[in-house]
């Protein structure tokens, strides 16, 4: 949602407020617990008692062993998965308390996503790929495409809007993904191993691009990663284990 249309509701207004009132957290999760059913019956607890709060502009990295539930934690925060206990507040709104369409709307307006596997749609041009979140947040197509072109330029892909994803390298695809994660000015970007598919040199460039772009927009970033380099760039690094989320 564009900041010049503040009438669109609290979920929309939250990131804008966050930029001007530093005290309010973008994300606040308290006591999250998640268990998964086992094939042979019974349940295995992934994590429990996880609490986290992100202030605007903050960059937090979450590390941990494989299978400890880092991605699941991101999904719970994004409202794509439900915690067994605890609650997630994004911009002050309880995600679990919302109906499916409202959760979808919340993601469309308040969250940006970056994935390890890029997930750029192959049948849409770069500009349209980037413009999708704006459309889903309610912007009209012409404005969305203009904003997408501008954002592409900011990630170093000026004038590449009409191109098809098939001709892009991995690093370029992730630039597109970053543009898509930020184009609608979310308060919070969730990134799941954003550099996992990239060579170290490209990975460094991409990480800095992501963090710089997020900082420019005042967005907080929550990164799940195994990478030391990524963790080093964060303001805080937390380690997820069965015991909870603790500073490493």
């Amino acid at each position: 949602m564009r900041p010049d249309t503040p009438s669109a509701g609290p979920a929309v207004a939250a990131p804008v407020l966050a930029a001007t009132v530093p005290a309010a957290p973008v994300l606040s999760a308290v006591g999250l617990t998640r268990a998964v059913p086992l094939a042979g019956g019974g349940r295995r607890t992934l994590f429990s008692g996880v609490s986290i709060a992100l202030a605007p502009g903050e960059v937090v990295a979450i590390t941990g062993e494989s299978g400890v539930g880092k991605s699941t934690l991101l999904n719970v925060i994004a409202g794509l998965d439900m915690a067994d206990a605890g609650e997630v507040l994004i911009g002050g709104r309880n995600v679990a308390g919302l109906a499916e369409p409202a959760r979808a709307a919340l993601r469309a307006t308040a969250l940006g996503f970056v994935f390890q596997a890029f997930h750029v749609l192959p049948h849409l041009s770069l500009a349209r790929n980037v413009a999708l979140p704006c459309l889903l947040a309610g912007m009209n197509a012409a404005d969305a495409l203009a904003r997408a072109e501008a954002t592409l330029a900011e990630v170093g892909l000026a004038g590449r809007g009409p191109d098809w994803p098939a001709v892009l390298s991995g690093g370029e695809l992730q630039r597109v993904a970053i543009a898509r994660a930020l184009v609608h000015r979310p308060g919070l970007v969730l990134a799941d191993e954003p550099t996992g598919n990239l060579d170290p040199e490209t990975a460094g460039r991409i990480l800095h691009l992501l963090l710089a772009q997020a900082r420019d927009r005042g967005a907080a970033v929550l990164i799940v990663t195994h990478s030391e380099m990524v963790a080093a760039a964060a303001t805080r690094v937390l380690r997820l284990s069965a015991g909870g989320l603790l500073p490493s």
Binding site: N75, A108, P122
Partner: protein, 846 residues
Amino acid sequence: MQHWQATGWLIAGEWRAHPVRIGLAVLAIAVGVALGFAVHMVNSAALASFGRAVASVQGRADLAVRARSAAGLDEALYPRLARLPEVQAISPVVELPASWGRLARPGSQARGGRFTLIGLDPLRALRVTPGLVGLSRAGQSGVGSRPTWQGDAVWLSPALQRATGLQPGDAFTLTAAGRQARFTVMGRLASAGDEAQMAVIDISEAQWRFGQVGRLQRLDLKLAEGAGARLAVQAALPADAVLATPEAEASRADALSRAYRVNLGMLALVALLTGGFLVWSAQALSVARRRPQFALLGVLGLPRAGLVRQLLAEGLLLGLVGAALGVALGHGLAALVVDRFGGDLGGGYFNRAQTRLGFDLAAAFGFGALGLVTALAGSIAPALAAARTAPAQALKGLGDVPDPATAPRAWPSLALLAAGGLAALGPALWGLPLLGYAAMALLLAGGVALMPALARLLLAPLARRGSAWLPLDLAVRRLWGVPQAAALALSGIVASTALMVAMAVMVASFRQSVDDWLIAVLPSDLYLHLEAAEAGGLAPADQARLAQVPGLESVRFQRVISVRIASDQPAVAVMAQSGDLTMPLTAAADAAAPAGTTRALISEPLAWLYGWRVGEVHSLVIGGQQRRLYVAGTWRDYARQWGAIMLPLADYRRLTGDVTATEAAFELKAAADAQTVQAALQAALPAAVQGQAQFGRPAEMRAVALTIFDRSFAVTYALEAIAIIIGLIGVATSFSAQVLARMREFGMLRHVGVPRRQILQMLGLEGAGLGLIGALSGLSLGLVMALVLVRVVNPQSFHWTMDLALPWPLLAGLVAALVICAGGTAVIAGRRALGGQALLAVRADW
């Protein structure tokens, strides 16, 4: 909601990426709609012109009293009815089937034709059926002046005038009731409509020249208002007259071709149903392939409802384009068919009418909507399935792999199959085999739905044992492990195979039964048939002359006359045959005929239509009175769909006094030459009926009959071919889609060192395996459906039975073609999938 914009982009992107698959789905809908619409248009056009022709011959009277048979009514009924106060005006009519020129079999060069000869009193007809009163050359009504309607004057309907090419003043020689007479054309019946082949002469001439003195076939009436009028007329009627209301006439015209029309319409719907399956499988595949895409959209904030909307919008667009294309295509097809085959699609029901094709807007919308609904129905299940998927898992590529450990459920499909079996046992509704069709649809749905479970069951032994040959092992495990994916491809194969097999078996059974029947009913060496001789054929003297022709061992004469049993049903044929009534019977009574009854055989359709059973006594009006008939047996009859009754000729002559014959069967002496005998017989015929006489030898009659059979099933064959082609294309595309969707898997296989050749072999085996499973399942399902067609649908619509005959070579060829097609397509698609991009495929998710 700006989601629509995103939806539009995604649909456009998808369609740009897979134009062939989208085009095919559109085509499937279009073909279904086109066939349904075309069949409907041709039928309604044919029925309308048939109705108009009937109305023209009747001159649009309020009501008509008709003779039950061509023997007519005593004319004393005319003054009796005329004096009823309820009768405002009355017009007595002699109506005879007649012919001009030389009637010939299809394909011969001889010129001639049949028409209806109407004899009426123009002075009376003016007040009841003015359209039947001729205009003289000067354009003046022929009434009142020196009676121009007297003597040899004849007026021709426009259609008959065109056919004969005669102008006013020309001589017109015509034959009716076994007599020939020459008339002078006075003019045209301008208001007789364009369809009817009809000539009008004075009633006194018609009675005198064609042996009908004292007889009438029909009385047209104009009645006073009020409900009692019809009852008053009804009460005054003798046994050999029926009251034919316009509704009854319409119903009779409708009944004449209803079953045929409904069946063709159902076939068209089957094509549409196949189209629906194709849309479903295309959409399901496309959804499966795009699952990560949809997941991404879900993560980015597209609500589930928005996703369902997008997929339904896709289906709607497919349906809209397909329906529009189908309506256009259908109109063109109908025009072509009417031009080439005539209004009855070669079925032979409307041979006296010419068909005019109009554009039926309501029907166009109706069939278009049906196409749309089919497309939407095909999209809705995949759309809902896509919306149910959890986006996070799907995005990780986990959601689209069903767990091999879960067995697909079989009971819903078994329930559908059971329901189908039950429906097949049901009776006809409104004279139509609607439950039979429902049974076929249920069986089809159940059979297709059973595929995943069945595939797993069939592959289980192979999967357990494994195979030393890697390609086979991989193929079997894939098929066994992912039966839902296999079922998608299978459903198309099974559905189209089942429909093809059902149709093929039904047509083959019918054709075989007709052939057997022809051999059984044509035991003699030579046959004579007089066309258009309903009202009278060969006099006894003529019969005697024929019997004396040298070279004949024996001769049996037959008189065929049509008799109305019910006023809203087409007339039944009463066939009086000399000698013993020898027919291959399907049921017979052992007892002797009770006293006071006449022994009679009835045809299967008659038994169906009127509920007569062997051993019962029923009454039939012939010779002006109710006669009691003892039903001694039924025989199979494919020639007269509206029923036939066979009597001994001697009894017929005793009951009616009618001693003429319209048909004869000759046994030749061993040494006699059929050609010579036929020429001698032709020469022995009276001149009047020579143009109507048709000789036939069993072999050529069989050939002609089967030619007609094949022609009337031409449309069925065409529908069948289209179903096969759609089915094969569906198989090909669903295979190539699945193969392309598995690029990543192939990339992995190549990475771990499986050679390209082996991957192709694996694909070929998978394809062939699926094809085989699909073809065999389709074959079994099709045989069950054929059984429903043969045992339920046909008897209920056409009132005849047939023996099941299986065209094994055709069926085997079909299975082989499917297996080869499926395997071949898989290999071809695999080559594409493995070309260059295979290694990339591992890295890119889609």
